[in-house]
Amino acid sequence: MSIILAASTALLFALGTYLLLQRRLSRLIIGLGLMGHSVNLLLLLSGRKRGVAAIIGDGKASDFADPMPQALALTAIVISFAVMAFLLALAFRSWQLTGNDLVEDDLEDRRIAALIAADNEFDDDEDILDAEAGWPTERRP
């Protein structure tokens, strides 16, 4: 049982990492969600001992599974749920404003791209237009 759980923890984490490296916000958010699930599973696994639910007056104490990791995982799930909702709202706002769900290049990248474009001024006029629009020429969506 715990081999399967351990394997799914690893698989979820790997999938999450892969999706996190994508350029689309929707994939990125799903990736973060998967990573969150993976670490919650890890928390559950950290209790090690299998057993019945730890409810007082419901069986012997020695049969109980460790309730602590369950409490921790529950807290972590609630928090990641809230943050995920916020992230989705943010992605929606980004989509509203830009019309796409791509991760933007950061400011520094755009500035350096603009410098390169200005350097090529005499070769190609279009480059400058792109630089002024703030987009590096070769990575335009």
């Binding site: 696994l45 943010l90 950061d106 400011l107």
Partner: protein, 496 residues
């Protein structure tokens, strides 16, 4: 103490609720916010005095004793951080009230800001690693909202980077907690310190590294700093100031706390931390030199100065960690002040780009002075507190025989001075050049509304006071460092 310890967490949280209920009455919201932070400040000062006299104290939430219940622990280090952080939070709140924009337009500013204050306080006070995660999430969720408040395109874009990187850090944090619980069966920090000896040395080293990464992302150490200079400058000024002053320093606090308390002397990753410290200093300051906007220059300086703090930590001596603590509290005050001044320039001149403004010191002498004093302190010019901080760090480095890192830190401090003169020469000296003439008469005369100037001046006075009382404060930092390096009193008070 048992009554006082939870106050800095509970009061802002309750006030946040009340402030939310009073969303339609801005004056009531302001009153609640200021009152809550005043109470926090008062409670912190009282606790600092008690803790310095009687040693660490703990309070157990919900009546369960540690390691099962959640412990709030106050020792010299955490109390000092509280005493410095609370007035800074208050001053920045006052600045936000004086500044047209965010605070006046967004009724949600006050509640969120108070939640942030509660999160910061809980991170300093908690004695439980999982509770620290919760505190981080409180603080971060509030900061996500503050950084995107307004919903402008650049805010959403950079806010996304900020949220994602912090979520990744939080995920790693939960993974760390899972692994710690699996191998040691506890997440209470004092209990972890006790049981750490029962697992193999390699695992202990892995935990030390994993903790360094988790808190290193929050503290923005090399190479995990890239998110900071992008996301901080786009937020409203007051928000940037409190982030710059406090959030990264919470990361530093957790780094120092976990690396000294949980990791035993034999397992410490001292050499690794020193290498990272060197890179953080150099890369941060080079980044700052390349920038052309006041807020972005200052953001890179945050990164560079983080290097000095973890340099002190990496030495793992009383002198080193004492210097790191002094450095940290000095930076909390300085960075908030400088970014508020950046905001004043933005407010008075319409821009904070060096190419678009000039002659601020001639046009608005008050802003000139408010910038000059903390900037000299940041660069480490005597007699300011920054000089005491740098000198003690360098001395500690000499005592430990780490010549290379000391040499690097001296070169970096010269480069820091250079980039400060770049701001000074670009924006404050030269012919008066404003992007647009300010509209209201007060700004035209002095450069900002009364509250903005008074709160910034208050912080400047605070940093001057740190220099004036440098001796006693530094001695206190040394005592705090000695406590950190021999944590038996801390462990005893938590585990009873």
């Amino acid at each position: 103490m048992r009554v006082l310890l939870p106050l800095p967490v509970i009061v802002p949280l309750v006030a946040a609720g009340a402030s939310m209920a009073a969303a339609r009455h801005r004056h009531l919201q302001r009153f609640i916010g200021v009152l809550a932070l005043l109470i926090t400040t008062g409670a912190s000062i009282v606790m600092l005095v008690i803790v310095d006299r009687d040693g660490p104290a703990a309070a157990f939430m919900g009546g369960w004793r540690a390691p099962v219940g959640i412990a709030l622990v106050g020792d010299r280090f955490s109390m000092l951080m509280m005493v410095v952080a609370s007035p800074v939070l208050l001053a920045v709140l006052l600045f936000a009230m004086g500044q047209p924009g965010t605070e006046q337009e967004q009724p949600s500013f006050h509640p969120v800001y108070l939640v942030l204050a509660a999160g910061v306080a809980l991170s300093f006070l908690t004695g439980d690693l999982f509770n620290l995660f919760v505190a981080f999430e409180m603080m971060l969720t509030a900061s996500y909202i503050l950084i995107t408040l307004g919903g402008r395109l650049d805010q959403v874009q950079t806010g996304m980077t900020y949220v994602v990187i912090n979520l990744v850090a939080s995920t790693l944090f939960v993974a760390l907690l899972g692994l710690l619980y699996a191998s040691l069966g506890t997440v209470n920090m004092a209990d972890l310190a006790e049981r750490m000896g029962t697992i193999p040395r390699e695992t202990r080293m892995a935990f030390a590294l994993l903790m360094f990464v988790v808190f290193g992302i929050k503290a923005a150490v090399f190479p995990l700093f890239f998110w900071l200079p992008d996301s901080y400058p786009t937020a409203p000024t007051a928000v940037t100031a409190v982030f710059a002053g406090l959030l990264t320093k919470v990361g530093i606090y957790c780094l120092i706390r976990t690396q000294t308390l949980i990791i035993a002397p034999g397992d410490r990753i001292s050499g690794f931390i020193l290498v990272i410290a060197g890179f953080t200093m150099v890369v941060g300051v080079l980044g700052a030199i390349a920038q052309a906007d006041i807020k972005r220059i200052l953001s890179f300086h945050i990164v560079s100065q983080i290097g000095y703090m973890i340099l002190g930590l990496g030495l793992f001596t009383v002198a080193g960690i004492g210097a790191a603590i002094f450095y940290t509290i000095n930076q909390i005050v300085l960075k908030s002040t400088l970014l508020l001044v950046g905001g004043l320039v933005d407010h008075a001149a319409g821009s904070s780009r060096l190419s678009q403004v000039g002659g601020i010191a001639r046009r608005f002498p008050v802003i000139g002075w408010l910038f000059l004093l903390p900037a000299l302190s940041l660069a480490g010019v005597p007699p300011f507190a920054g000089f005491i901080a740098k000198l003690s760090t360098i001395q500690a480095g000499f005592d430990a025989g780490e010549w290379l890192i000391v040499a690097i830190s001296i070169v970096v401090s010269v480069l820091t001075l250079y980039s400060m003169t770049k701001i000074w020469g670009g924006a404050f000296w030269g012919d008066v050049q404003l992007l647009e003439e300010p509209s209201d008469s007060m700004t035209r005369r002095c450069g900002g509304s009364g509250l903005m100037l008074v709160s910034t001046a208050g912080l400047v006075l605070g940093s001057l006071a740190l220099a004036a009382f440098g001796g006693p404060v530094f001695a206190y930092c040394q005592r705090a460092a000695a406590d950190l390096l021999s944590p038996s009193a801390y462990v005893r008070v938590v585990l009873g």
